[in-house]
């Protein structure tokens, strides 16, 4: 998978939600960001690895805001219908501001999506800063669960961290016939790894075991097991 995504993850600050009751810290949150660069008329397959800071469900306006030109699109995935759900960044009618429509589809950590930058905007390339609360408690034992559908799921590693694809519990629990479908930004096409039967006495294995998932990367997972299940992943960092 080509890494055209410029990534910069930082724990920026311990938020104002830090509260004290005498000497007890009641909550501690950290925010971070991932920067994704998208050329006009091109797509990037991303994942939003954060939680909405205000606690509301995350939608595309929280993810991309007004950082892309009018006419841009976001492609979310409907696992039940096995089809794309499209959010459109539209010019505001009359005096209204430009806005995403319908802007009602929730996006959770572990969800992937495509962002497409429209042509005709102010630039030939756009940096999209995806910001939010870093998921997880202040310990190193938390887990996140991502629903894997029967068939295709558009997903992402549910934490803003680098991970080798084969180190994930999703890859380790694969069934022969499953596919990891990444995105080749340069070619604007899919980049596919297959979970294949081992030859002779060899164990079943992924055809491209070197895949690295970086913060902000999305991918399709093609589950051929015949039923959906939950993918549970251990948080790879202690803080936050």
């Amino acid at each position: 998978m080509k890494r055209s995504i410029g990534i910069s993850l930082g724990i920026l600050l311990a938020c104002g939600s830090v509260s004290f009751a005498q000497t007890n810290v009641l909550s501690q949150n950290a925010v971070g960001y991932v920067k994704v660069s998208i050329n006009e008329d091109e797509l990037e397959m991303v994942s939003y690895d954060f939680l909405d800071i205000d606690g509301n469900p995350t939608t595309i306006s929280d993810v991309a805001g007004d950082q892309l030109p009018v006419g841009s699109r976001a492609f979310l995935w409907n696992p039940a219908g096995q089809s794309f759900v499209i959010e459109n960044f539209q010019a505001g009618l009359k005096a209204a501001a430009d806005a995403w429509a319908p802007d009602s589809n929730p996006i959770a950590p572990g969800d992937g999506l495509f962002l497409e930058a429209a042509t005709g905007g102010a630039s030939a390339s756009y940096d999209v800063f995806m910001t939010g609360e870093v998921p997880g408690e202040n310990n190193n034992s938390g887990t996140s669960t991502v629903a894997i559908a029967d068939g295709l799921s558009l997903s992402g590693y549910p934490y803003p961290a680098n991970v080798a694809w084969t180190s994930t519990t999703l890859a380790a629990g694969a069934t022969v016939g499953d596919r990891f479908i990444g995105w080749d930004s340069a070619g604007q096409s899919y980049d596919i790894a297959n979970f294949q039967p081992g030859l002779k006495a060899a164990a079943d294995a992924w055809s491209n075991p070197g895949e690295i998932i970086e913060p902000g990367n999305g991918f399709f997972y093609d589950n051929s097991s015949g039923g959906g299940y939950d993918w549970t992943e251990l948080k790879p960092y202690a803080f936050p």
Binding site: R73, V85, I86, P102, Y190
Partner: protein, 206 residues
């Protein structure tokens, strides 16, 4: 033995035939239409709903008409298929379908009677009412050749979302209605018959 060879040959032909499947995927919007006896700037008018259609034809449909209910009319026997037909509500008193739908229309050869969907014409109609009858106004878009749309493979998902075409049926700006729904044939026949009766009566009177 000979029978087996026949079966094998037929099997090969069938598999070659399957590879010709063609598919298209598109989102469609409209920047708005107004009555041809009014104007976009002239202010709102007061009809509550509209009907929006996408139609595929195997020949250039420029001269084709619409019948009551959005039916096909005057198409000279062309192979035409309505790919989608949905009612909506107006914005600001005009027909403004600027809210691009959150789902793409996906069609394949089976939606056009087994013809090659990538080798025809796609056009759009916006009626000024959700249940058009003879005399109602509509806008019919210029036709686009489907050979210019990506041939997506719906049978091998996921498709590349970049291949979901964005089409603005009015070309990006407001357009006047440019056609009138023609009455259904029975209505036309009744009109013709009444004309004949009136003519006969006048002839007898003379």
């Amino acid at each position: 033995m000979r029978l087996t060879k026949y079966v094998a040959v037929i099997g090969m032909v069938a598999s070659f035939g399957l590879t010709s499947q063609a598919d298209i995927a598109y989102q469609v919007a409209s920047s708005g239409i107004y009555h041809d006896d009014g104007s976009w700037a002239g202010g709102a008018w007061t009809e509550a709903g509209f009907l929006y259609q996408a139609i595929w034809s195997d020949v250039d449909p420029s001269g084709h008409d619409a019948g009551p209910g959005g039916s096909l009319a005057n198409n000279g026997g062309a192979n035409e298929f309505i790919l989608f037909s949905q009612a909506g509500v107006q914005s600001y008193g005009y027909i403004q379908y600027a809210d691009t739908p959150g789902a793409a229309t996906q069609s394949d050869d089976s939606d056009v009677g087994g013809l090659d969907i990538n080798n025809g014409f796609l056009y759009f109609r916006i009626f000024t009412t959700s249940a058009p009858v003879g005399g109602d106004k509509l806008y019919q878009s210029p036709a686009i050749q489907t050979s210019g749309l990506a041939n997506v493979d719906l049978g091998n998902p996921p498709i590349n979302p970049g291949d979901i075409a964005q089409i603005n049926s009015t070309g990006g700006g407001p357009e006047a209605s440019n056609k009138t729904v023609i009455p259904e044939p029975t209505t036309l026949a009744l009109l013709a018959l009444s004309g004949v009766m009136i003519a006969l009566r006048r002839t007898r009177r003379d």
